[in-house]
Point group: C2
Chain length 372, copies 2
DNA sequence: CCACTCTCGGTAAGCGCTTACCAGGGCGGG
DNA sequence: CCCGCCCTGGTAAGCGCTTACCGAGAGTGG
């Protein structure tokens, strides 16, 4: 095997630049950071030396001195690997679509400000999550935490040391939160099912019981159902886990118990709907003919399913971008735009609720025209 | 609006710990890093102080001093946002599945070694990609570059300053590369189509012309076709771009030109297959009845399509994990396991090639049983 | 023509760690 | 019983930057 590192040479330092330009390191720094704007001639010489040497300041040194790392940490919860006969990953990959799109949103926003993303995931049963997150905190200027990565007490502790923004959580004394408008979105969906489609029995396939999103979605649905006098079904048997497997299991065990299904299944999120829909089809049900199914989030795959999934669109990437901007203002000790930021959601009427199939529009380029 | 940062207090430093434990900072450092193992009593006192104060060393300071940041940079190419009537993202999200899964693989491997991931994307037409990547390089110990983020000359320049591992690229003097076994995988697929299904005309819907993966896949297919005396169709009209839209466009414009389609469409990757398949269905073709379609990669959505996509499985997460391990040995100035590392691939026979529909197995939990 | 102000570089002091080097104490062997 | 060695902890020198502070020269008004 040939040599792999012929001559990795240490990158030039600010001293090298100063020497090459015939000035002091202070001048180099000043030119580069635009302070006290130096004389044109000095500036030119420095800039030329920088270009010639390809100088880029070391992140650690800069961070240590300027007390600003220009890095934000993003932590999400990793779903345990499902080992199947085909190897791992059958389920995990899917389940993180939502997270990935948010992260992309954060990343794009961060990049615009010269920040980079430090990503880390923690295992569900991570014994030492707090420590690992703290380590990330010390490598960054602030943290964005996805849903349920840290219990409230630990979160409070963390937030005394680092600026923290949560996603789909709840704002606290020291942390800000960014979320989609669950209430409005779910209300719109519920009304569509009840008033447009005239369904009279509706069940809620829940997400994690302690998730604020789940609570808000359930509540909105229950409210509309109650005020419309529609039968609202829920309970332990309807407990999912935000994953496709959870949705499938709910349906399967219900069927195994001989429970008669309601006319519509409103799922806590798209993943759950995906699983539920699949299980229904496996058991010979017609979706949406016999049972309608809806999701929440509008993750990319939603429109590739057959039938295409009716769901509530969250501005997923915007959630991430907003979280970043809020965090950045906290880092800069500016007052953020708010502590509990709510982004609008909206109903995407597709097929799985019982609406007619879309036209021949190419379904992954644009969404089908709307209309019940 | 209430105060959002009541009292972010600076985290404790090593000096605080030393004072609390009644020892010098050197001792604290030694206890924490396990060097020159100090006396038990000293160790206990330090450890207790660390626990009480919740001390975690600052990443920048540690990095500057130890010359090790314990961060690896990962750079991928962002697909330009497609603005549709429904907003952006219709296409982008999908197209990055492959990248995201690889990144997850890197992340998990990195975490095991106490490293974190610094992720950054660059725009297709980024004017200053090199500089931005260099900035990331200076915030990390080494870089992992996805396909086509940097042209060869810039790559060479970069690799003189930082350890670099590429994914799906080519190994060079100073960089290592990790990839899937395109040749074996594509050969297996080609044989399946030709000998098991007896298809006699096959077209290759290409990926980016300069992508090593694309070149290798095309070559393997062409070889098998030639040796079997099968008609191999390709050319400018068959040029895709690794995206769903590319696959769809190839099919649509071919049809518009009145070209008669071959019996099987072998696509450069799953995204392309997805788009091609969709376009075929839109135009009234039966897949696989009239035209068979195959992909490459086995991204998660592949098995959710109707028909389920026959494709070559790459160990996507493993590609990432392997890239990390190779990079880490370069960072540690150890000789890596190799400079051009090839991971095995294998044919996933599903429906889109013409094989029979799977049994009632839940398709996202395990894959359907195999067999033509 | 001199005192004063202003501009612009340089000098040096950190930022919070790691670690080379040194000093002191306990101990074994001559 | 003394010398030298080993073990341990402290002292201090950086790591590569930013920036407060200072001093020298140029420009201005009385």
């Amino acid at each position: 095997m040939a040599e792999t590192q012929p001559n990795i040479q240490a990158p030039p330092t600010i001293y090298d630049v100063a020497r090459a330009a015939g000035v002091s390191i202070a001048s180099v720094s000043r030119v580069l950071n635009g302070h006290r704007n130096p004389r044109q001639e000095t500036r030119d010489r420095v800039l030329q030396a920088v270009a010639e040497l390809g100088f880029v300041p070391d992140g650690a040194a800069r961070a240590l001195s300027a007390r600003l790392k220009e890095v934000v940490g993003v932590v999400f919860r990793r779903v345990p690997w499902v080992e199947t006969s085909e190897g791992a990953f059958a389920e995990e990959d899917e389940s993180l679509q939502f997270t990935d799109v948010i992260n992309r949103g954060i990343e794009v926003a961060a990049q615009r400000r010269g920040y980079n993303l430090l990503v880390g995931s923690i295992d569900v049963d991570e014994h030492d999550a707090y420590r690992r997150i703290m380590t990330m905190a010390r490598k960054s200027d602030g943290l964005i935490l996805h849903d349920r990565v840290l219990e409230p007490s630990k979160l409070a502790q963390l937030s005394t040391h680092v600026p923290v923004v949560t996603l789909a959580g709840v704002a606290t004394q020291a942390t800000a939160n960014v979320r989609g408008d669950n209430g409005t979105g779910m209300t719109e969906l519920a009304r569509h099912l009840i008033y447009d489609h005239r369904y009279t029995t509706i069940a809620y396939v829940a997400g994690h019981a302690d998730s604020p999103d789940n609570i808000a979605r359930r509540l909105a649905l229950a409210k509309v159902a109650a005020s419309a006098g529609v039968l609202f079904v829920e309970g332990p048997q309807w407990q999912g886990n935000y994953l496709a497997s959870g949705g499938a299991k709910v349906v399967s065990s219900l069927l195994a118990d001989g429970v008669r299904l309601p006319r519509a299944l409103v799922c806590a999120n798209d993943q759950t709907a995906l699983g539920a829909m699949h299980a229904l089809v496996q058991h010979g049900f017609d979706v949406p003919g016999e049972v309608a199914v809806t999701g929440f989030d509008d993750i990319p795959v939603a429109r590739h399913l057959r039938p295409q999934l009716t769901t509530i669109r969250q501005p997923i990437a915007d959630l991430g971008a907003t979280a970043f901007e809020v965090l950045r203002s906290m880092i800069a000790h500016r007052e953020p735009a708010g502590r509990d930021i709510v982004l609008p959601t909206r109903l995407m009427r597709r097929e799985s609720c019982g609406c007619l199939p879309a036209s021949s529009q190419s379904s992954w380029l644009t969404d089908p025209p709307q209309g019940a």
